[in-house]
Point group: C2
Chain length 329, copies 2
């Protein structure tokens, strides 16, 4: 049996079951965007780790080293934001072939620096090694959150309003553009230099009306499914309410893409996905818009049952799933 | 300019200078075995990250998956031990080709589990991804240490006795045996399943007579040089006092190796290197031997000046340096 026949989610579940020891009181381990460890009476520490592998997560010739460094930090910070917390420290491992240009590495580090400055994270350690099989980047991030502010993906409840903080689809369109040799424009930028929603995540963490929360790294379709599975509910999403950018609509039309159906499978978006107590949704949304100058988009409702249904004019829309699955053949 | 022309130490120094911000009060960043972050009034948190790259750190066909998993944990725990602390949590990233056997991964995880159980560390998170260029493993470890017990490599002082906790050389001999197809015996085991000296490290951390401390990952020759550079002193090592195992001596004789000269360049040893206030060395050493049932080997003295000199019968011995350097051509 090859690991490709098992799939990422089952692989992780197996690891979680095998390693269920030495966790200590109050520790939440594998299964959410971050691990959670108690820190004194009022705080929790957040830990997450994410890799970018050449040939899988990026093509060296297609992304600038500066963008790659920036992105490597942001995807990790996004995990902390998804728990309602703030990133504090990062550790960086990078393996590179010996023949890598020093100027490439220097530009890469400029991107790391820019992202760390933007989000207030300090690089406290790392490991640099040689590689015989391309570039491998791994960041581990350490964050913190007030005990009452932490958000988990498991806490969505029936009747909650399902929300996203950002338009969807740009990253997938940007990826296609990048692969066809275009390296300018807002879509490519969204894919290559994603912005972690660290201010939004921390702010949302401070509101008890926010229940389940996670970031959108594998596409709304897949990630909302994970949130509903963790929470024990189902979701009904009004596909007309999926927010998309003007640039994405144009790109989709040019390429004959079904707009919303593609938007919901676009991964590496790094906007936040959350559910909000329906009674408080309007006031939260008003406040969010005042502070962040864009809407908190309501796209659906948490329902009983299981799974995610996308609805258009009262009818179920089948999503042709092409989201990226690690270890899938 | 290629990174191989810059070298690992200079590369890291460059990163350290560029990323000298957002560190916060009391934080010690890049440059020692672990980063140090204050935790309340009495404790410090320790952070370290280490990678094992296929083709560079290991050959998949030469090491069992169980040993590889065990070693990946131990080399990280060793970094925490080297600071006088105790490992608490680990994060694991692994990138594998899609065709990797599920049974290989399962055996690998058994090794991870065994090591974590042995050292009391809990795996709280990770990232599993596919790879197009071989297996890449990264662990980040979180440890803690009492504020008064932390040890740095920079704290060696003139007149200190230089000590090691273990014999040297086995790992290099074990590597040679493994590469020539032998996979049994104490030398191979020392290379493939190194034991982090976590009990010794924590115990030594509790003694103020211990000054500089680090683990031996790149060989005594190179690592003692780093400790002396960080401390601003030089070292004189009596090469006859370098402890070696009976098995290593036999192997060295069979292969016509100069015994001690090879022992001091053997990397991936993961014993501890430390300097001890000379006045207190004897009592510390007696106590160490009583508790750990082996000597705390005194091998030299910290001197004024710079660099490391190996001495035999009053004469300087030149060491033919073949230690493994990342990014060296």
């Amino acid at each position: 049996v090859k690991i490709s026949q098992i799939g990422e989610d089952k692989l992780i579940q197996g690891v979680k079951e095998k390693m269920n020891f030495n966790l200590g009181e109050g520790v939440v381990g594998i299964g959410d965007d971050c691990a959670v460890v108690p820190l004194g009476e009022n705080k929790l520490m957040l830990f997450s780790t994410d890799s970018l592998v050449e040939g899988c997560h990026f093509i060296k010739e297609k992304i600038s080293p500066r963008d790659l460094g920036y992105k490597a930090v942001m995807v990790n910070v996004s995990d902390v934001a998804a728990m309602g917390g703030r990133g504090r420290y990062a550790l960086m491992s990078i393996a590179m072939p010996k023949g890598t240009d020093a100027s490439w590495f220097s530009e890469y580090m400029n991107g790391v620096k820019e992202a760390c400055e933007e989000v207030g994270v300090g690089l406290i350690g790392g490991d640099t090694t040689s590689s015989k099989g391309g570039i491998f980047i791994n960041f581990s991030i350490v964050g913190e959150v007030l005990r009452g502010n932490v958000k988990y993906r498991k806490d969505a409840r029936e009747g909650d309003v399902i929300c996203v903080t950002d338009t969807l689809g740009d990253s997938l369109a940007g990826y296609e553009m990048m692969m066809s040799g275009k390296n300018k424009g807002s879509l490519v930028e969204k894919h290559c230099c994603p912005k972690a929603r660290f201010r939004e995540g921390e702010w949302l963490g401070g509101h008890s009306s926010v229940r389940g929360m996670m970031d959108i790294s594998d596409g709304l379709f897949q990630d909302l499914g994970r949130m509903m599975k963790a929470s024990g509910y189902g979701a009904e999403v009004d596909i007309d309410k999926i927010p998309v950018s003007r640039e994405f609509i144009e790109f989709a039309r040019e390429h004959d893409w079904p707009v919303k159906e593609r938007a919901v499978i676009s991964g590496e978006e790094y906007g936040l996905l959350l559910t909000v107590n329906s009674v408080e949704y309007q006031s939260l949304s008003d406040e969010f818009e005042k502070i962040f100058s864009r809407p908190l988009y309501a796209i659906g409702i948490v329902k009983g049952g299981r799974g995610v249904r996308f609805i258009k004019n009262g009818k179920v829309v089948e999503i042709e799933f092409e989201g990226y699955l690690h270890f899938k053949d």
